[in-house]
Symmetry: D2
Subunit: 284 residues, 4 copies
């Protein structure tokens, strides 16, 4: 409960680590984990993630943040303090296929995904029972291309009511509009059922079968307005062979999808993912 993460992005120069770690020490914090990455030591951007424990953190929070502003200014930092005790309010979107939703709920019940699942939204009724058996509000909002704007208005209203900070598209098979995406930049995680950038768009398993690939995969990425082009968080693949018809590819694919998405979400929740340009830094 007394743990926090400090995420920093700034121009690289000598003295950053010294300044930050001295600052934290002066508040009695112990650095538990520290990961850094420099795009280029000369003139590049520097990224650091520090996880620290600090006795009495709740009381010191305000002071720490206001004091740190000086260091932030000195090094021209973009930074953020994130508190482990404050779980991210999350909405999960799902269509008909429940395997990714199930995996997330299962890991969440086990305590492996530290989030506050505020609601599940679906264009099918199929997952209602599962959601409600766990006490999670379930919203059924039928959707299709023609009514996209109305659908998104309803969804956005629900998301705002719940103060949602993270949206997980757990095989939600509707395209989101730029308007919707603009409300949640770098806050929407999707699972695409191919090893991107191969098979962008619809029906990737059918196309993988037609191409005769020997590996199929899945990709979890942040959603941007370019379909399947957002920053990649995690990918996975499995071997297939000529005997595997589209049905088998889908079965094998489901196992890849659920584990790739679960890993991506876990890293996001632990504030291990930093987006830079159209790429991610993952401090795993």
């Amino acid at each position: 409960l007394d743990r926090a993460r400090l995420l920093i992005k700034c121009p690289d120069q000598p003295g950053i680590v010294a300044a930050v770690s001295t600052f934290l020490q002066n508040f009695g914090a112990n650095i538990l984990e520290s990961s850094q990455y420099s795009e280029d030591p000369v003139g590049g951007t520097f990224f650091i993630r520090m996880e620290f424990a600090c006795p009495g953190l709740t009381d010191k929070k305000a002071e720490i943040e206001s004091e740190f502003a000086k260091i932030g200014a000195r090094f021209n930092m973009k930074y953020e303090f994130r508190y482990v005790s404050s779980l991210k309010k999350t909405a999960i979107f799902v269509s008909k296929e429940p395997h990714c939703l199930r995996e997330l709920l299962w890991e969440w019940q086990n305590g492996d995904l530290m989030m506050d699942i505020s609601c599940i939204i679906s264009n099918y009724e199929d997952s209602r029972e599962l959601a409600e058996s766990l006490g999670i509000p379930f919203y059924y909002i039928p959707a299709n291309k023609e009514i996209r704007n109305e659908v998104e208005q309803k969804q956005l209203k629900i998301l705002e009511e719940h103060n949602i900070e993270l949206i997980i598209l757990a095989r939600y098979m509707q395209i989101l509009t730029p308007n919707f995406v603009s409300h949640y930049p770098k806050q929407i995680i999707n699972i695409h059922h191919s090893f991107l950038p191969a098979f962008i768009g619809a029906r990737p398993y059918e196309r993988a079968f037609a191409r005769g690939v020997k590996l199929i995969g899945a990709t979890s990425h942040y959603v941007t307005n370019d379909l399947d082009e957002g920053p990649i968080i995690e990918q996975g693949v499995e071997r297939v062979n000529h005997r595997d018809q589209v049905q088998e590819l889908k079965k094998i694919g489901k196992n890849i999808e659920r584990s790739v998405l679960a890993r991506a979400v876990k890293w996001h929740l632990q504030d291990r993912v930093i987006v830079t340009g159209n790429k991610t830094i993952v401090f795993d």
Copy 2:
């Protein structure tokens, strides 16, 4: 030396296996390995690969082949007998990067790639010493887009002199013309440095880096006139992360390339790869 492989492709119907295995038995052959695949038991195409040992095969060859023609006709088969004792005459093409060539030569020296390496052709002198140290004829033919036709004429002449049956492009960085490819259908194996169909074309590692993928790969395929679109034989991938710059991707990629190519070549030499449409069946 008394071993052979029988490769068959025909419309599926009951009785094929019975007819073929009875035929081989009547010649005293013992079936060592048999792999079959049917695209669809009703009206689909049926494929079978049988490897058999037959005492006195050399003397019986002609009779076996002429007798089998009847079965072939009955079932409307395309088929081929391939004799293990007859090594495929092979040419290896290479440009500057020697890692794939080295791997092939190394496996060949170990007896793991049963082929007759008739020559090595390169648009650089770099691999001459290696080739000649193993007693393999080396041909240096400078190449570039402008002189493509003359270059290919020289190459084709050499290939014909050596009666080449298989061409391995072991990181040969020149595009082949349709005319060249038409001389060696399903007989040219390439290694492409990406997990196709991602990053078709030039500079795949640079583009993989720009896209921020978390896996890089390599693909071995038969060459057709559609660049990087030929039937895939084998693929492999390795994990990478945000720290890996283009240079590191290339290093990691080299290890994938050499092992993927070596596996594809091994399967081809063992007559385990059957091309159907733009896909391969690999009876491994």
Copy 3:
């Protein structure tokens, strides 16, 4: 429904495939899949698995089996016909950890594990709700070393009432006695939480941590009287590193265990696994 599998084991000699395939053809059967393996073409044991479709199979069954006896005798075969329509009656044993049970039930609901789950037996009450929600009889039988014999008597009685043909130990943490095992030879599948033969016995994750391995794994095998020494069906591993404490190893391990067990069970149900000596042939 008209599909069956024929499994054969006999001394290798020419003519087996011809005889069997001619026999099946005469009954109008179409061979859908055929896999064979010879330990040694000269004097070794030969194994073959044929899956075939035969219109009107139910009516022809008795005649096929009685006629095949002649071929069986001629080649000194051990053989078995298994009918796809006849699902194996299965009991799943589980202790406290539900992840393997959940995975099996989930794949079974999806139609990916074709079995008749007759009952779930546990020494904990935890899985009752899950079992009963799916209409599967659940038996709670507390167990410990001291009362092993009484416990097994109760279990055997239930298994006999249900005519069980397959027992899956889905993280059942009690050792079975030789008496129990002798009732179900090659019919009990266990998942052991290490890459055997490393870490045989109790607390493998603790020992893996202590040894500092960089890979952890799981092994699914048939149960014999030698603890963790039975024929291995399938294994899987994942990378770990120095940061992973025992708790993390267990979490990572759960994902390996559930997928390794599910694959092993699927292959067993499809009659793809043949035990020979203390090893398995898996015709996957």
Copy 4:
């Protein structure tokens, strides 16, 4: 050339990172990479590896080291400065199988293994030509159990003459005595041809075959006096199946061995491996 690595091990307490990073900053150093690990933030041991660039390092070296002694004393540190410009003097031991030696030499020629290969020592003459073609002194010292002490005396003499800092056993098939090992603690890297702790000792592929495992592996570890029980640096595995006889296991195994050993050596040369107890921390 102005790069160095600082490796520290000390009791965990707040302020370490601040002190060290401030120290380095005061000398004008820029921290390029920093990795840390704490066994337990309360009372555990803390490890950190910092790689830094420092203009004029050669001239400042002495002062940096003498000044740092104060910080070392304050935090009760064991620490070491290692300079990237100072390549480790390395001896490679090999017996008959050359695949690991070849891989190391190949990566070394490519500039991927930054070491000074001072000599190659073998109990066979086979690798002499390869060694000498690269200008590396080759010592042929026949060896067997009976003459172990004399052999090791000769080897130690050569190692001392060359001021060897690292010994790589690249499939050197002789057991080293405690006396020999005591001269090079944590400085001898071996490749064992199994996924340890499975198949400790001789003939692991034969035993893997007999056990019927579905994965084979290799393990690179530091050599201690307990055979195959030293701290593990890296492991790898590949799938095998029932068709793979001992010969095939060995072939597949060679590819695992060479890549596992090359990774372990690379990490050691980059000072990324820290031994703690009988385990390693690998800051990769």
